[in-house]
Symmetry: C2
Subunit: 332 residues, 2 copies
C-alpha cells in the first residue's frame, strides 16, 4: 500500500536551488515580506520556479515558526446549520481564505466529540453564544489567544442573535393581523431545549406586553396523532394563531389543522421560524422568520480578521437583522 505521494514534497530549498538564490530570498518573495526589496527579475524567477515545481508551503513548519495556526474555529449549536447559513458561511470562508485563514466549523456541543480547539490550535474561536467558564478554561489551556464573544463580557444567552428577537417578531406579526388569543407549539425531545425555552419565554413576554392571551406551550411530539390532538385542543380553546418553534413544527401544525377541516389562516394562522426551504415549499406556504445570514457571515469574517490580524472593525455588532417573511399561512 504505497503512499500516494511517495516523492518528497518540494520545499523552499528546492526553489532556492533551482533559481540559484538563498532560501531566505525565496521566503521573502513568497510571503511578500514588506520592507524587503527584491528585484523584479529574481522575484519573477522565484515565482515561476515555485509554480513550475508545484510548491506548497508546509503548514506545520510555518505554524511552528510563526507561532500561530491561521485557523479560525467556528462553534455552532447543532441545528443552526442547514438553512441559508450554510451558504453564507461559505462566503465567510472565502473571505478568510483570501487572508490566509482556514475556517473550520464545529457543530454539536457537550457530550459529543472533544472540542476541536484542543487539537487544532486555532488562533481564534468564535461562538454563537457565550462559552461556559469550563470551555474558556479549556481554550486557554490549549493556547487559544482570542475568544469571541469575549469571555467575561456580559453576553447573555437570550441576547445572542436569533435567540429571542425572532420569537418577538412572530408575536408582533400575529398581533398586527388582529390575533388576540394564541398558543405556542414546540418540539418534544429536541436537542435544542434551551433555545426552545428561551424563545418561548420571549414570545410569551411579548404577547403579554401586547395584551394578548397565551393559552400555553404545547409540545408536538414525535408520536402519532399528537399534532392532531393539539389542533383539536386549540380549536376548542378559541385559539386563532400558533407560534411554532420552527418550520417543521409549523408544517406539522398546518398539516394537522387542514386534516381536521380547519382553514388556514382563516380558522388557524401559523407562523414558523428559520425560513427553511420547507417554508416556501409547503402548501400553503408558511410565514416564517428569517435572519440575515449573509450579513452575519460578513460580520463573522470581519470579526475573525480583527481578532486574528488586528484589522479594524468597520461596523459594530448589532442584533442580527431579523424579519418576518409573510406568506399564506398567516395572511391568506
Amino acid at each position: 500500500m504505497p503512499d500516494l505521494a511517495a516523492a518528497r514534497r518540494v520545499t523552499a530549498v528546492d526553489i532556492a536551488k533551482e533559481v540559484g538564490v538563498s532560501r531566505a530570498t525565496v521566503g521573502f518573495v513568497l510571503n511578500n515580506t514588506p520592507g524587503k526589496k527584491i528585484s523584479d527579475a529574481t522575484r519573477a524567477r522565484v515565482l515561476d520556479a515555485a509554480a513550475r515545481l508545484g510548491y506548497q508551503p508546509n503548514r506545520a513548519a510555518a505554524d511552528l515558526a510563526r507561532g500561530r495556526s491561521k485557523i479560525i474555529l467556528l462553534v455552532l449549536p447543532g441545528r443552526l446549520l442547514g438553512s441559508s447559513l450554510q451558504a453564507s458561511l461559505d462566503e465567510s470562508a472565502r473571505v478568510l481564505a483570501e487572508a490566509g485563514y482556514a475556517l473550520v466549523t464545529q457543530t454539536g456541543g457537550p457530550g459529543g466529540a472533544p472540542p476541536l480547539w484542543e487539537t487544532l490550535n486555532p488562533d481564534v474561536v468564535i461562538g454563537w453564544t457565550t462559552f461556559t467558564d469550563d470551555e474558556v478554561a479549556s481554550m486557554r489551556l490549549a493556547g487559544v489567544r482570542r475568544i469571541v464573544p469575549r469571555p467575561g463580557e456580559s453576553a447573555r444567552y437570550d441576547q445572542a442573535p436569533g435567540v429571542s428577537e425572532g420569537a418577538r417578531m412572530q408575536v408582533d406579526h400575529l398581533h398586527e393581523l388582529g390575533h388576540r388569543r394564541i398558543a405556542l407549539a414546540s418540539l418534544a425531545d429536541s436537542q435544542m431545549l434551551e433555545l426552545q425555552r428561551t424563545r418561548a419565554e420571549a414570545a410569551v413576554r411579548r404577547a403579554e406586553d401586547l395584551g394578548m392571551e397565551v393559552v400555553g406551550v404545547r409540545a408536538v411530539a414525535h408520536a402519532d396523532g399528537s399534532s392532531a390532538d393539539a389542533v383539536r385542543a386549540w380549536a376548542a380553546d378559541g385559539v386563532t394563531a400558533i407560534v411554532a418553534y420552527n418550520d417543521d413544527v409549523a408544517a406539522t401544525v398546518a398539516g394537522a389543522a387542514i386534516a381536521a377541516g380547519l382553514r388556514i389562516p382563516a380558522d388557524l394562522a401559523v407562523i414558523g421560524h428559520d425560513d427553511s426551504p420547507m417554508a416556501e415549499l409547503f402548501y400553503p406556504p408558511l410565514s416564517s422568520v428569517r435572519m440575515d445570514t449573509v450579513e452575519a457571515a460578513r460580520y463573522l469574517a470581519e470579526v475573525a480578521l480583527h481578532e486574528a490580524d488586528g484589522r479594524p472593525l468597520t461596523s459594530t455588532w448589532t442584533e442580527l437583522d431579523t424579519y418576518v417573511v409573510a406568506r399564506k399561512s398567516t395572511t391568506g
Copy 2:
C-alpha cells in the same frame, strides 16, 4: 488589547526541568513510546508535572516532526448533514479523537470556499462519492497521502451509499402495497440536482422492472400553488402513489393532497426519503427511507484509521444499510 495567553506556553522542556530529567525522557513517557523502559517512578513524576503545569503539546511542532497532521478531512455534499448523520459523525469524531486524530468536516462543493485540504494538510481526505480528477490533483499537490474512495477505482456516483438504493426501496415499498401507477416528485431549484436525477433514474428503472407505470417526474417548485397543481394533475391522471425526493417534498405533497380533499394514503400514498425528524412529526406521519448512519459513522472511523495508521479493516464496504420506515402516509 493584550493576548489572552500572554504567558509563554509550557513546553516539554519545562517539564524536564521541573522533574529533573532530560526532555527526551519526557517525550518518551508522554508518547508512551514503545520499546522504552521508563521506571514507574519517573513516569509518574513526569505525568504529574505535566498535569500540574498544564502541559499541552504543540501541534505544529509535532506535525512538523512526524510529518503528518493527524487531521482527517471529511467532505460531504451540502445537504447530507442535518439529519441523524450529524449525531453519528460526532461518534466517529470521538473514536478518532481517542486515536489522536481530529475529524474536520467540510460541506459545500465547487464554487464555494477553497477546499480545506489545501490549507489543513490532512493525512486523509474522505468523500461521500468519488472526487473529480481536478480535486484529486489538487489534493496530491497539497500533499494529501490518502484519499477515500481511492481515485481510479471505479466507484460510480450512483453506487455511492444512499444515492440509488433508497430510491429503489421507495418503489418496492409502493409496489408491495399494490400501487401500479406512480409519479415522482422532485424539487425545483435544488443544489442537489445530480443526486435528484440519479435517484429519479433509479426509481424509474426499478418501477419499470416491476411492471409499474411511471407517469413522470414533476418538480414541486418554490412557487405558490405548484404543489396543489401537481396534486390535481396526478389525481386526474390516475396516480395512486408518489415517490418524493425527500421528506420536505413528501410533506408538501401530503399537505397539498389533504387540502385538495384527498385522503392519505387511500387516495394518494406518499413516501419520502432521509427520514428527517419532520417525517415522524408530520400528520399523517410520513413513510420514509432511512440509512443506518450509525453504522456509516462507525465504518468511517474505521476506514480513516486504516488509511492513517494502517489499522486493519475489520469489515468490508457494503452498500450502506438502507431501509424503509413505514408510516401512515403509505400504510394508513
